[in-house]
Subunit: 115 residues, 2 copies
DNA sequence: TTCATGTTTCCAAATATATCAAAATGTAGC
DNA sequence: GCTACATTTTGATATATTTGGAAACATGAA
């Protein structure tokens, strides 16, 4: 993930409604929810929700799958993982400062340069 | 870290200049850089930089320390760690989906409830 | 005090974002 | 075809963010 992609993803999550939408989708898992269901659960009117879903989709954080008249939105875990990876790699000091789950990480994710 | 704090921190990082500033400070470490040095390294005019530094400070991501005529800005690693923790806890599916450094996390960061 | 320097505040303009009513699009069933 | 429903697009408006010049503020040195 490059800087532009990171900024885009961060901006997508840096908004109350969108963060709520994304959290809801994460809770739900890969099946996702149709737009209407999301709007109902969070009390967001259609056009507003549509606007926010598009932002999340542009940032690559959610995927849309059409099924009949419904459009199911689901979280892109891979993308989210990439964002967290970017933050830990670039925005924390050394090694595992921002990877709290790891007591003592031994290997990093970086590819070794050819000698 | 609650939702509001998360949104604030995400918004602080969701801007090209600010992300660059924060990355620079992280690279630098706890000693920090005076504002002028940051501006010079990144080519950001004084008033603009001041505005961005304030945003980062309000979000709790940087600390300011005065030393003579200089104001040294340094990253708040604890805060960043909290943000990454929030994201992994709330915005990733199960367990370690977004903690790439960990092959098999055994313990979580959560405090055990008193029995 | 005066000067030079580092940084911020003030201000105004340009740009971007958020919201939602109304209209449009797409789809399923009749 | 028509109707009903799910969702998006349009378009207008309100609000917020970003930018940087000029001026102000703060500090240290002479």
């Amino acid at each position: 993930m490059n800087e532009l992609a990171a900024v885009t993803a961060l901006a997508a999550l840096a908004q109350e409604s969108r963060l709520a939408v994304f959290r809801l989708l994460v809770q739900r898992g890969p099946d996702g929810y149709p737009a209407g269901e999301i709007g109902e659960q969070l009390g967001i009117p259609g056009p507003t929700l549509s606007f926010h879903l598009k932002e999340l989709a542009v940032a690559g954080l959610v995927a849309a799958r059409k099924d009949g008249r419904f459009i199911y939105y689901s979280p892109n875990f891979e993308r989210m993982r990439a964002l967290v990876g970017y933050l830990t790699d670039n925005c924390c000091s050394l090694a595992a400062t921002c990877a709290p789950e790891c007591a003592a990480p031994v290997v990093t994710r970086r590819k070794r340069k050819a000698a």
